[in-house]
């Protein structure tokens, strides 16, 4: 059964994996602080947001077990992400091209 598989998968994640993910998150935090110190002009926001997205996906996939869940969870997240993308794109289309 799929549900059973998902459960046993999330149970297989070892303490070591969680610690490694945490280490990666801390390293990414240090990188993002360092990167913001360098003057990259408009790129600073792009770099810091890309790092934030990477960190968020690590948390969602490993800590929140999404990587090991049934497909339906991924579909939910995909639809939510797409909806947010549309909302942000339409708003930016207004903001950027106003006047």
């Amino acid at each position: 059964m799929e549900a059973q598989e998902a459960k046993s998968h999330s149970e297989q994640i070892s303490h070591g994996t969680y610690v490694l993910v945490w280490l990666a998150l801390i390293v990414l935090t240090c990188i993002t602080v360092a990167a913001s110190g360098i003057n990259l002009a408009a790129f600073t926001i792009v770099v810091t947001l890309l790092i934030a997205l990477t960190k968020a996906s690590l948390v969602v996939n490993i800590f929140m077990h999404i990587k090991f869940e049934d497909k339906i969870f991924k579909v939910f997240l995909g639809i939510a992400g797409f909806t947010l993308f549309v909302i942000f794109s339409l708003t930016f289309a207004d903001v950027f091209f106003r006047r």
Partner: protein, 215 residues
């Protein structure tokens, strides 16, 4: 529509309490739907932030100079660590290690408290400088700076409320584990509480660069 609710897989495996119809997948889906509404709530504020930042780019950068990057970084590390202990607490209960799970969960709650303590000192310092919504000093500054600090207090404040709510939920979970209401065979409550805690962490992951790394 099928009316039979699939029993919790652990019930099948361990053979007892098989008569209790529990749907852990359903519980988790419900939790995720709730988390997505939370996401939408914060997304609205992030949208507002983006639009105002575009219109008042210089003012936002000027306002960013008054932010405490150190406090922000420290709190990021505290919250990421609390997410780790949360995940470890669930891993421990999955393996039937009750007291290890309690230890990790208590650490998570204490780290949440540390986060709020740092936040208290941070806000106190900003308020001491005369920067708070409606203060005479802030109203003397440009519109963009007023908006930046308005958003700062609103968004980190709303996030702080979520940390408090999360801690209250986790305290209940702690009591449940102690009283064996959450066990190796039935830990969906702890898992869902963990999902909430991680969501609060994710929101902070985005708040951090937008407010503390703008200079």
């Amino acid at each position: 529509m099928s009316q039979i609710v699939e029993p919790a897989s652990s019930d099948v495996i361990h053979g007892h309490e098989a008569h209790v119809h529990k749907d852990n997948q359903g519980a988790k889906i419900g939790m995720w739907l709730f988390l997505l509404t939370e996401l939408l709530l914060f997304a609205g504020l992030f949208l507002l932030y983006s639009a105002y930042r575009y219109f008042h780019s210089d003012a936002f950068h000027r306002a960013g100079l008054d932010m405490h990057t150190l406090f922000g970084t420290l709190n990021t590390i505290v919250l990421l660590t609390s997410s780790l202990t949360m995940a470890l607490s669930i891993a421990a209960i999955q393996r039937g290690k009750k007291w290890l799970s309690i230890t990790f969960l208590s650490s998570t709650i204490l780290l949440g408290l540390s986060f709020l303590t740092v936040k208290y000192f941070e806000w106190s310092s900003e308020i001491a400088k005369g920067i708070y919504p409606g203060s005479a000093k802030l109203l003397d500054r440009s519109n963009g700076e007023i908006l930046f600090f308005g958003l700062y207090y609103t968004m980190t404040g709303l996030h702080g409320l979520h940390v408090i709510a999360g801690m209250i939920v986790l305290i209940f979970m702690l009591v449940f584990i102690v009283r064996d209401k959450i066990t190796k065979d039935d830990y969906i409550k702890l898992e869902n509480a963990g999902l909430y805690w991680h969501l609060v962490d994710i929101i902070w992951i985005f708040l951090f660069p937008l407010f503390y790394l703008i200079n």
